[in-house]
């Protein structure tokens, strides 16, 4: 698909026009905490050099708490009411490649056999404009999970900063194309050169582990001392899952708002909580933290791949940066890869 040259001020104009047409615009907050909603075009951040937000943008597709339906017990009759459809058209400016890549990964689980329309509607209504990433720190590892600071997977439009305040705008998806065609001033100047990706590779974060070996080891070694080593230190919060762009476990609960009405809600949940697998009888198949951490790693780097042919991780490093006890998931995987190499020799 085509690429165009755009300037920062054109991007601002795009945002301004969207706002005037009542679109919602989200961008990384200045403190790089999360994606926040913008009130003015001046707030949007298209900064390839910034740290990934502490919390991923997944809540824009899969909110931390979402109403599934309302129930009402008025005049003896019970009625169920669907919540308003998430109808707002949304654009996300300045997502990282490791954010955007999570959308198709999540889409798999939300759409096998049964389709989760809550998720789908939001995806449908959202345009993801990502920006090539020039940040990296000791927690990043996108290149170990098949992505890179230039991955376009999951984006509708992709920005590559060239010189100051100027960008190459690549059209990535059909949805992105349809969207941008509505704004002719964005597609005035076609970019006809070629962008030399090879040149950039030297600055990519180095590959920390070989995914295939990790997966192979996980498939063969369910019981291993490594889980105790990590499990002993892991505190079993769900910070890692809640900031993660790909974790998608949830709980379903009812809430009353008065005697006769209430709602059923879908709330984030995580395999790191002890209660997650506890049966009503008291039996808990994952009774300690080492088993729960093992599930985390296996689900991400083994089971999900088997089931949906995707790695349930984009290497964004959020879980590591935020872990209260600095458990570095990439270091755990490096260790696993060493175990696998040792097993082969």
């Amino acid at each position: 698909m085509k690429s165009f040259i755009v300037t920062r001020s054109q991007i601002n104009s795009l945002a301004a026009e969207l706002l005037s047409k009542n679109w919602s615009i989200f961008t990384q907050s200045e403190d790089r905490k999360r994606f926040k909603q913008c009130e003015s075009e001046s707030e949007i951040s298209v900064d390839g050099n910034g740290k990934p937000s502490d919390v991923s943008f997944k809540e824009l597709f899969f909110p931390k708490s979402e109403t599934l339906f309302y129930f009402n017990r008025d005049n003896e009759e019970l009625t169920l009411l669907d919540p308003a459809e998430p109808g707002t058209k949304t654009v996300i400016f300045g997502a990282k490649p490791c954010d955007a890549a999570s959308v198709p990964v999540l889409s798999k689980v939300f759409n096998w056999d049964y389709n989760d329309e809550f998720f789908n509607k939001r995806v449908e209504n959202t345009i993801v404009i990502s920006i090539a990433c020039s940040y990296s720190d000791e927690s990043c590892f996108c290149t170990s999970v098949g992505l890179s600071p230039f991955s376009e997977i999951g984006s509708d439009l992709f920005l590559i900063p060239t010189e100051k305040d100027s960008f190459i705008l690549k059209i990535v998806s059909e949805k992105g194309e349809k969207f941008i065609n509505e704004f002719p001033f964005m597609i005035q100047k076609e970019f006809e050169g070629t962008f030399d990706l090879e040149n950039q590779k030297a600055s990519f974060p180095k590959e920390k582990f070989d995914f295939a070996s990790v997966k192979e080891w996980l498939g063969k070694n369910f019981k291993d001392e490594i889980w105790n080593e990590v499990g002993e230190l892991c505190l079993g919060c769900a910070q890692c899952a809640y900031v993660c762009p790909t974790c998608h476990c949830f709980d379903i609960v009812d809430e009353n708002c008065g005697v006769s009405c209430g709602r059923r809600v879908k709330n984030w949940d995580s395999c790191q909580f002890g209660l997650f697998t506890k049966h009503a009888s008291g039996h808990n198949p994952r009774e300690d933290q080492s088993r729960r951490y093992r599930q985390r790693v296996n689900h991400k780097f083994n089971y999900y791949k088997q089931r949906f042919d995707e790695i349930l991780c984009t290497g964004c490093g959020r879980c590591t940066r935020g872990c209260p006890v600095s458990i570095d998931i990439a270091q755990v995987l490096e260790k696993i890869q060493c175990k696998q190499s040792a097993a082969i020799v």
Binding site: V55, L235, V325
Partner: protein, 287 residues
């Protein structure tokens, strides 16, 4: 940190403890919690200005070793937590071996150099830089004046607010909570076998992460820490949404001090504030 490694090795060689909970530096240079099980692993122990975690949290989380005590590397604020756990009958003094560190303050950001100005807030009002309960005391205390307590300013500002303004302040803060419960998991004094949010019969707290559900969670946790919080600021450090949680717990600690002249975790022989009742109690704070 040769001194620390030497004592740790000595502890293992003479079977004075089965494990030692301490800090290590990982290959990316982060200082983080680590458990040494033998004298080889003891080589990896370290202590420095980035040793922020309150390791006392592990005392109630780890299974008690069958063959000896739990050794723990502890700075002043960790010691306060250990003392508090002893006061609350959660652990026995005899079951732990405390390797205390004189502490000159810690810096939260692993990539930032230490200076006394950029220490964590807790260090700026710390009264226990030299621990008061230990088996070994290591490290040198540098003599310097504590920098200004920057949280105090915010507390004054909050106090000056009208109740409505204050409500709005907390509403915007708690609105951000994602209920990851990292604040609870990292807290050495949140050791309940079943947290109140996990009780469903009856359901005390809405588990949804909505403003209402978040308020009940954050406030109830704060109340459970009334006069118990030992000021390690771990909850606030780990909160992914940067909610200033210690404003509440610290404030309640200050009330306990003012009204009852009590500070939790300072003396293992003192009865706890919450566990004692006297007819002469001052009730000024309930209005």
């Amino acid at each position: 940190m040769n001194q620390l490694i030497e004592s740790a090795k000595d502890i293992f060689q003479n079977n004075k403890a089965a494990i030692i909970i301490g800090y290590t530096k990982d290959k990316s240079g982060r200082t983080k919690p680590f458990i040494a099980h033998n004298s080889d692993e003891a080589e990896k122990l370290t202590f420095n200005h980035h040793a922020v975690n309150n390791l006392a949290v592990y005392l109630t989380r780890l299974e008690k070793p069958k063959d000896g005590k739990i050794g723990i590397v502890a700075k002043g604020c960790d010691i306060r937590a250990i003392n508090a756990l002893i006061q609350e009958n959660q652990i026995r003094r005899d079951d732990v071996l405390i390797i205390a560190m004189n502490c000159n303050g810690v810096v939260e950001n692993q990539n930032e150099e230490f200076s006394k100005e950029n220490t964590q807030i807790k260090c700026k009002y710390c009264q226990l830089r030299t621990p008061n309960n230990y088996d070994f005391l290591l490290g040198e205390l540098e003599d310097f004046e504590l920098p200004e307590d920057s949280q105090q300013e915010l507390m004054n500002k909050l106090e000056a607010m009208t109740p409505e303004e204050r409500w709005n302040f907390w509403e915007s803060q708690f609105g951000n909570c994602i209920k990851c419960y990292a604040c609870r998991q990292v807290c050495p004094l949140c050791y309940c076998e079943q947290c109140i949010v996990e009780k469903s019969m009856p359901q005390w707290i809405e588990t949804s992460s909505t403003t209402r559900g978040n308020f009940s969670w954050n406030l109830i946790r704060a109340f459970h820490q009334a006069g118990r919080c030992i000021g390690c600021h771990e909850c606030e450090r780990v909160c992914p949404m940067d909610i200033p949680l210690t404003l509440l717990t610290r404030k309640m600690g200050m009330i306990a001090m003012k009204e009852f002249n009590y500070k939790h975790g300072m003396n293992i022989n003192e009865p706890t504030l919450i566990g004692t009742y006297s007819t002469s109690d001052n009730e000024d704070f309930i209005k």
